[in-house]
Amino acid sequence: MSISRREFTIGSAGLVGTSTLGLTRPALAQSEPIKVGWLAALTGPSSAPGVGFNRGVIYAAEAINAAGGVKGRKIEIITRDTQGDPTKAVNATQEMISQAKVHAIWGPTNSGESLAVTPIMARAKMPNIHPCVVDSLIDEKKFPNAFRLAPSNTQWDDAVRNYCLKILKLKKIAVIGDTTGYGVSAVNASVAGFKKDGAEVVYQANIDATQPDMTPDMLRAKTSGAEVVVVWSVSTGMEARMMNVRAAMGWDVAFVGHPSLSSGEIGNLVEKPANWEKVYAVGYRSCSYGADGKLAARNAELVERLKGKVNLSDTLLWWVTCGIDAVEMVAKAVEATGSSSSEAIIGHWNGLAKYNGYFGDYSFNPNQHNGYPTADVVMSAASSAKDGAFLLAPGYSG
C-alpha cells in the first residue's frame, strides 16, 4: 500500500494532536506519583506541632510506598517549611499549585497561616486537609475543598464546658484568658457558652501574659466564689504563674482549659511538681490512657509499630497520628476512586462516614467539613504525659 505525502502529513498531525489532547494521559497518570503538598512549620517559633505532624507524615508515606504504593503509584511528599509565617505559606501554596502540581495539600498547621492560604486553595479547587482550630476556616460554601481533621475552637469549648458542668458538676465558674486576640475571643465565647448552659460565671478576666505576679486576679477569682478556673491562653508562663499562685494561696480549685496547660514547658516553670496537679487540659480520647493505663487497642498497636522508628518522647501522639491520617486519607481517596483529580478526591472525602483514622473517626459530607467527633474531645490530666499521650481526667469512663 502506498501512502501519499498528503495522507502522511494528515496522519502525523492526527498523531501529534491526539497526544497533545491527552488521549495518552491515562497511561501517564497511572504511573506518576501521588503528590501531596505538606505546608509545615518545621523551624522557628511554634514549630513543635509541625515537627510532630511531620514524623507521622514521613512514617505514613514510607509505609504506603514500602507496601507497593497506591495501585502502583508512589506517594511523594512535597514539603515546604513555612516557619509559621503566613507570607511564606502563601508563596509555598502558590508554588505547589502552579509549579509542583500537587494533587492535594496537607496543612498548614496553624490558623494564622491557614487564614492566609485557604482562599488561594479554594480558587484552585485544591483538596486541602488541615488541623487548624479557628472556626471560620471551615465554610462548606466558600471553601468546598477544605476539610478539618481536628476539632474546632467550638468543639474545644464544648469539651471544657461539658467537663466542668456535667462531670465535675460545678456551677460557679471563673474564666481567665490572656490579652491576645485569641485570649479575648476565647474567653468571650467560653463565658457565653457557660451562661447559655445555666452556669454562673462569677469572674471573667483577661491578663497580660507577661504580668509577673498573678496574685491580684487569682485573689479576685477566689473571692468571687469560683469553684473551677477555666483557662484560655497559649502562654505557658502565665499558666505556670497561676498554678504557683494557686498553691501559695492554698486554694484547692481545678484548672480546666487550653491544651497548652499540658505543655512540658509548664513542668519546668512550676515551683513544685504538685502545683501542676488538678489541672485538666483539652485532649483526645484516641490518644489518652484509660483508667487501666492503656491506650485504645488500635493506637496501642500503632505505638508498638512506631517504636524505634518514630520518637514519641518529645512530641504529642495526636500530632503524629494526625499526620499519618492525613497522608492515608489522600492515598485512600485515590485508591477508592482510581483518580487523583481534585473532583475525585474531594468527592470521596465528602462521602466519608466514620472513617477509621488513628487520631479519630472522621465523618464528612458536602454540608459538614468539621469531621472530628466532639465526643472524642476529652480532658486529660495535664501532668501525666507519657510517650506523647495523657491519662484521661477523672470522671471519664474507659
Binding site: G44, P45, S46, T179, A205, N206, I207, D208, T210, Q211, P212, D213, T215, P216, D217, L219, R220, S235, T236, G237, A240, A248, S263, E265, N268, L269
Partner: protein
C-alpha cells in the same frame, strides 16, 4: 493585700528603675535614647538561666559571665547603632537604628533560646511569702547599683570624666578627655546595669524573649517621669510606677492597669514636661 502590693510593686519598680538607669547611662555620654535597654534586661534573664541552669555554672560565675556578655552587647550597640548616627542627632535616626538592633537581639534570642518562658534559678534559697528572694533581690540590686554609681561618679577620675562628658561634650573634648573611649565605656556600663536588672528580676519575669519590649516600655516611663539623665529621678519614678501598677492590678484588674499607668504618665508630663526631677534646659540660640 497591702504586703503583696508592696512586695511585688517595689520589686518590679526596682527592675524598671535599673532599666531607666541603663537608659540614662547611655544617654549621658551620647545624647541618644537607646531602645536596646529593655533587651539588655531580657538578656540578663536569658543568659543567667543559660549559664546557671543549662550549663550548670555556679551562680556567681554565671552572674559574672552574664555581666560580661551584656557589657559586650552594650559596646556593640555603640559601634553598630549609635556611632554611625551621632553626626545627625537632630534627625533622630538613632530611634530607628537602636530599635532595629533591639529587634535583631529579640529575634535571635527567640530562635536560639526559646519562644516559651524558661525557668530562672533560685539564687540564695532565702525567704518565703512576701519576703521571698524574688521580691528583695531586685531591690538589693537597685540599691547596690545606686551606691556603686554614686561612688564611681564622686570618687573616681573616670566617673568625673563621665560627668564632664555628660555636662558639656565639647568642653570636655577641648580639655583632652577621650570622649569616644568614655562613650564606649558608658555603653559597656549600661549593658551591665541592664543585664543586672534582668538577672535580679529573673525569678519574677522568667527567662523569656518577650520581656524586652515590656522592659523597654516600662523602663522608659521612670526616665520620662524622673527627668532625662537623672538617676535619682529614675529610681523614684521606677518604684512609684511599680507600686502604682501593682495597686492598679489589684483594684481594677490587669487589663486596665496599663491604661491607668499611662493616664498618670500623660498627666505628669502635661504638668511637668521636663519630668518631676528634671531641670529646665536653656535653648541655644
Amino acid at each position: 493585700m497591702l504586703a503583696s502590693i508592696l512586695a511585688s510593686g517595689v520589686a518590679v519598680g526596682a527592675i524598671y528603675a535599673l532599666i531607666g538607669i541603663a537608659y540614662n547611662t547611655m544617654f549621658s555620654t551620647s545624647r541618644v535614647m537607646s531602645f536596646t535597654a529593655g533587651q539588655l534586661g531580657m538578656l540578663g534573664g536569658v543568659l543567667g538561666s543559660l549559664f546557671v541552669l543549662r550549663l550548670g555554672l555556679p551562680p556567681i560565675v554565671g552572674f559574672v559571665a552574664m555581666l560580661a556578655c551584656c557589657a559586650l552587647i552594650g559596646v556593640i550597640t555603640e559601634f553598630v547603632a549609635v556611632r554611625p548616627v551621632l553626626k545627625s542627632l537632630d534627625q533622630h535616626l538613632y530611634v530607628l537604628s537602636t530599635l532595629a538592633l533591639a529587634l535583631m537581639i529579640q529575634q535571635v534570642t527567640a530562635i536560639k533560646w526559646s519562644t516559651e518562658p524558661q525557668p530562672f534559678p533560685r539564687l540564695f534559697e532565702l525567704g518565703s511569702g512576701t519576703l521571698d528572694e524574688k521580691f528583695w533581690v531586685p531591690v538589693a540590686a537597685c540599691l547596690l547599683t545606686i551606691i556603686g554609681l554614686e561612688l564611681l561618679y564622686r570618687k573616681t577620675l573616670v566617673g568625673r570624666a563621665f560627668l564632664a562628658i555628660a555636662e558639656d561634650n565639647f568642653a570636655a573634648r577641648a580639655l583632652g578627655l577621650p570622649e569616644r573611649n568614655l562613650r564606649i565605656a558608658s555603653y559597656a556600663l549600661a549593658g551591665a546595669i541592664g543585664g543586672l536588672a534582668g538577672f535580679a528580676g529573673g525569678q519574677l519575669l522568667l527567662a523569656f524573649f518577650a520581656n524586652g519590649p515590656l522592659l523597654n516600655f516600662y523602663g522608659f516611663v521612670p526616665v520620662a517621669l524622673g527627668g532625662l539623665g537623672n538617676n535619682r529621678g529614675a529610681v523614684i519614678g521606677g518604684l512609684a510606677l511599680g507600686i502604682f501598677q501593682q495597686a492598679a492590678n489589684f483594684l481594677v484588674g490587669g487589663i486596665f492597669s496599663s491604661v491607668a499607668v499611662f493616664c498618670i504618665f500623660i498627666i505628669v508630663l502635661l504638668l511637668a514636661p521636663q519630668g518631676l526631677f528634671g531641670s529646665h534646659v536653656a535653648r541655644r540660640v
